[in-house]
Amino acid sequence: MPAKLSVNPIACTGHGMCAELLPELIQADEWGYPLISGQPVPVRLLKQAKRAVTDCPALALRLASQK
């Protein structure tokens, strides 16, 4: 099932870990906050996406199945 990344903008502290772990889908903006691709996460990047979610120091990143 295709999954999408999203961020809780209140919880996010702009640590930048996600952009480092998953540069294919996440870029840091000029203030360090993640710009997330709206595309479904390709299967080949799923493992890295899950790692970005679990490694987020603020627990602000989510990977959810599309409805």
Partner: protein, 433 residues
Amino acid sequence: MSPVTAAATQAYQAPAGGGGFPRLLPPAGQGTDLRAHLGLHGPVPYRGSAGALIADVRAAGLTGRGGAAFPVHRKLEAVAAARAGRAIVVGNAAEGEPASHKDEALLFLAPHLVLDGLQLAAEAVGAGRAVLYVRGDLRARARLNDYLPERDAHGLDRLPVEIVWSPNRFLAGEESALASRVSGGPAVPRFTPPRVFERGVDGRPTLVQNVETLAHLALIARYGPGWFRSLGTPDEPGTMLCTLRQASGSVDVAEAAIGTPLATLLDLSAAGAVLVGGYHGAWLPAAHAAGLTLSNAQLRPAGAFTGAGVLAALPAGRCGLIESARVARYLALESAGQCGPCRNGLPSIAGAMAELAGPDPHPRVLDDLSRWAGLVEGRGACHHPDGTVRFLRSALGVFGPEIGLHQQGRCSAATGRPFLPVPAGPSTEADWS
């Protein structure tokens, strides 16, 4: 408070008693007390069961008058699905928009319609708690405390009404901020979902309706959906309260049928531009606004919307960039500061707008504004960055010729006096309760 008049823009044959035009504001010379209210509209028309009113509200096509124009029956249905007695109903009069006075006027002139509507909405969703959320510095504050015991003495209210005072902040009336404040926390937005109608005040399903919406609901319960639809347009039925800021500087709250020409509501002869929908709304050139009506059907294609009915005619001889820069600074200060893009981007945008409003703005400033607008849009927990960007982009579009003047070191302002109202005191980060 602003002087209040009713703009009778459309004749309407009233049924016996209440139901004439204006609908919400009492007729001239009519008292605003409970006796006058009961004489005009009679007692609260309870239906005797939860849900009974919802079909009428759906048939009436009532939409929220707080700004979003969301269909009221859908919120009612969502909250009514909760177990009886669990839900909470909140009447929202936070009115954090500095250019709006219509909720204040309504609470001053027709408080009992609002309180009737609160009870009827509570019955319709089977709520166990009713709250009125009111900006703490409104003049109606002292009087509101007197109404509730008076209504009790007449046996009008089935649920006791709690009053919760809201801080005078732009975002205090945002639904999730309201839910936080009524739950005892600060009036700042939270990340949704869950939506407030699912988990709101104290984690309970919460119906939040603007107080004007509740007053319309109280009239629909009495006079029916057919009556409601006899004014307005088929797609956007009914009337709405507007705060009209004329180019002359006078400010009125008026009730108008949706579909009324903007040129009927505002004297546009001395105006250069019109701000429609408040500080999250959009500027339109006066000549463009003159051909439009007060309706989302006509305003949306122009990039604007009716919102909470704020209409301001900027006089010719004022600089729209200076005005917009002041508003942008205010909006940046009103960020709750919770989301990085809003906390960083809005002050950057406000600074660039101030640069643009001055002489010889830096050539890079338009590119900066465009980039920052794209960076904050859609990246907040609430719509504050989105509304700010809408306002900003419309300013850059409508005041394009003025930008050209500023680039030549000139400005069309004949006076430096501010036109749009922005609260004087600087807001402080701690002041959210």
